[in-house]
């Protein structure tokens, strides 16, 4: 297999995805194709459906119309398919959501043990190497509550990576952090992007987007109003909503 064909392998394909919360039409037809190794940054005003959209990709939210295919698996009500997709997509949340009753290393080792059926030792070893990757192996035996927000978010990244996912999704990973802790999390994410990981990142950190994103998408009212490379989007936005939004966050 040539490098070219690897580059073109489609990881996620969505076609006209629609979703309602009651009578609220939150996704109004989203079609995206994300290829292996691509880093996609999604931004837009709150309530634009960007978080809801990425949550439909691992079925934390159900979509009502359209089709979602993740690495060849069609997402529907089949529980097996859902679990397969979830184990291939790592997800990092705004609120970290670490398990407070487990130590840092147990947080990271838990899913490899339960889902990938690794032995206790293998899982611990894997977990430790993931903690080294996010540069906090020394916190392994503490509890999440004893760590700073930035450290917790890095553990959350290690926890997702320990499942050796093909895709990593980040849902506003720095929004709950104090300003001085944002950089340590973004640094880890930048390293990850440069290592060739396929990433979908909902964020307003435009510095991050400029540095590593292949593609930017502007969401508004349940639609993608504009997409393009960072250069195109920052220097020459076409849509009025994009211009207005970027002028506020840049």
């Amino acid at each position: 297999m040539s490098a070219q064909s690897v580059e073109n392998e489609v990881m996620i394909q969505t076609t006209d995805v629609e979703k309602w919360f009651g009578s609220l039409h939150v996704l109004r037809g989203i079609s995206v194709t994300i290829k292996k190794g691509e880093v996609v940054v999604i931004f837009g005003p709150s309530g634009s459906g960007k978080s809801t959209f990425i949550r439909t990709l691992n079925r934390l939210e159900e979509h009502h119309r359209g089709e979602i295919v993740v690495d060849g698996t069609v997402l529907d009500n089949d529980v097996r398919a859902i679990e397969t997709v979830r184990s291939e997509i790592g997800m990092v949340f705004q609120q970290f959501n670490l398990f407070p009753h487990k130590t840092v290393i147990d947080n990271v080792a838990l899913a490899p043990k339960l889902v990938r059926k690794l032995s206790k030792d293998e899982a611990a070893k894997l977990a430790m190497s993931m903690l080294e990757l996010v540069k906090i192996p020394e916190q392994a035996y503490k509890y999440p509550g004893q760590l700073s927000g930035g450290q917790q978010q890095r553990v959350a990244i290690a926890r997702a990576l320990a499942m050796q996912p093909k895709i990593m999704m980040f849902d506003e990973p720095t929004s709950a952090l104090d300003p001085e802790m944002i950089a340590e999390v973004l640094d880890v994410m930048i390293d990850l992007a440069r290592s060739g990981m396929t990433m979908i990142v909902v964020t307003h950190e435009m510095g991050f987007a400029r540095e590593v994103a292949d593609r930017l998408m502007m969401f508004d009212e349940g639609l993608i109003v504009e997409e393009g490379t960072p250069d195109e989007m920052f220097k020459n936005p076409q849509h009025d909503r994009t211009k207005e939004f970027l002028s506020r966050v840049l």
């Binding site: 691992n58 934390l60 679990e83 397969t84 979830r86 184990s87 291939e88 997509i89 790592g90 997800m91 949340f93 609120q95 959501n97 670490l98 398990f99 407070p100 009753h101 838990l110 899913a111 339960l114 889902v115 503490k142 509890y143 999440p144 509550g145 004893q146 959350a156 926890r159 997702a160 499942m163």
Partner: protein
């Protein structure tokens, strides 16, 4: 108090000596000013004197012999005297397990163990002032503190964890029950029907087996009530709501008087077992509601994080949600255990001989002790207090640990 008066921390955190106060100035400042404190002080003193007026003559003339001569009934009821050694051997693992729990959980269990040791030592000392206790009993109470300390030493070892203590406790309980019940007529341990078990032994057995059974039932009912499967949901709701709406005493009468009418004639229902079931049914319904509260306190983000990692639904519940729910509800769970322990006393009302039942039997059954009811009931109250205080100290310890600890 004395230490507080010696020094007083200032706003800068350094300590400065406080000038010596005479009792009179202290009393003036703290007891008699402003004027309403003076009124409260006077009322308080009058109340104390009023209480002492009754208490002191009672204590001077108390017939503690009512308790000491009947100590065997208080402890084991009408268990055959020849077989009492089986109680001693069968119950011996209990102080040992309490000790291992102390060793494993540390400070949280310390007060409980210390209380048990002190109670045992006091019992041995009091036996020196009369010959009413058989040497066997004295020996048991003399040995039990050492069993606690031995358990502690074992519990301190690294390879002994909470799991071992819980499993050990469960197995020992079964063993104890077998030992007490015995086997055939001709065996070395002849059958002793539960009708002859009694006293503190029964109170403690019902409480312990109850605790061991009520928590799992409560967890299952709480999970079933939250289930998406309508059958489980309805069944759990019916169980919880019906039993919570029934007074324990009514349930007890229902079990002991009504239920035998529906049982086939060949079986003679074990009255103690029926009473035990009533207590378990009642307490498990409350336990289920405590745990359901804990389940609801676990945030949605926790469930989503576990799901996003690809975990199965059963793993999400058992590994992520339930442990956090139980942690959050430990004070309520221990509170329910204390209630269960005290609830065991109601079985005295249907003629069973638990600790309280034994007290009734002593006072009503023997003319000599008919007027000794204050002594007997005071003793019973003190025994209940020892155990409930021990349990609530565990609860306080858990809360302290949770506040200081990780979460």
């Amino acid at each position: 108090m004395a230490v507080e008066n010696m020094t007083e921390s200032t706003t800068t955190g350094e300590l400065r000596p406080v000038e010596e106060q005479s009792f009179v100035t202290w009393a003036k400042a703290n007891l008699f000013s402003p004027w309403y404190n003076a009124v409260l002080t006077v009322i308080g003193v009058v109340l104390i004197l009023f209480l002492l007026k009754g208490t002191i003559p009672f204590l001077l003339g108390a017939q503690w012999a009512a308790v000491t001569t009947n100590i065997q009934i208080m402890l084991v009821g009408q268990y055959p005297t020849d077989e009492i050694w089986r109680v001693g051997v069968g119950v011996a693992p209990m102080p040992f397990i309490a000790g291992t729990a102390w060793g494993v959980w540390g400070s949280m269990m310390r007060t409980f163990s210390v209380i048990l040791i002190v109670a045992a030592v006091l019992t041995v000392i009091s036996s020196l002032f009369g010959d009413s206790m058989t040497p066997g009993f004295v020996l048991w109470f003399a040995v039990s503190p050492f069993l606690i300390l031995l358990g502690y030493a074992v519990g301190r070892r690294d390879f002994i964890g909470p799991r071992h203590v819980l499993i050990g406790w469960f197995l020992f309980l079964l063993l104890t029950l077998f030992f007490l019940r015995g086997f055939g007529e001709d065996s070395a341990m002849p059958y002793v029907p539960t009708a002859r078990w009694g006293g503190l032994l029964v109170t403690i057995l019902i409480a312990q087996v109850g605790i061991a059974v009520v928590l799992p039932i409560g967890i299952i009912m709480a999970l079933a009530r939250q289930s998406n499967l309508w059958f489980f949901k309805i069944a759990a709701m019916a169980y919880i709501e019906v039993l919570r709406a029934t007074p324990l005493l009514a349930l007890l009468f229902l079990m002991l008087i009504v239920s035998p009418m529906f049982l086939p004639d060949v079986t003679t229902p074990d009255r103690l077992m029926l009473a035990f079931i009533a207590i378990v049914l009642n307490n498990s319904a409350y336990m289920a509601e405590n745990i359901r509260g804990g389940l609801q306190s676990v945030s949605k983000g926790q469930i989503e994080a576990a799901q996003a990692l690809g975990m199965r639904g059963s793993h999400v519940t058992m590994v992520v949600v339930l442990p956090q729910a139980i942690r959050a509800t430990i004070p309520a769970i221990v509170g329910q255990f204390i209630i269960l322990f005290k609830d065991t006393a109601v079985i005295a009302l249907v003629g069973l001989m638990d600790l309280l039942g034994a007290a009734y039997a002593i006072i009503l059954g023997q003319d000599a002790w008919r007027t000794a009811d204050p002594e007997v009931f005071l003793f019973v109250a003190a025994v209940y207090w020892i155990f409930t205080y021990g349990m609530s100290s565990v609860s306080t310890g858990v809360e302290k640990r949770m506040r200081a600890g990780a979460d």
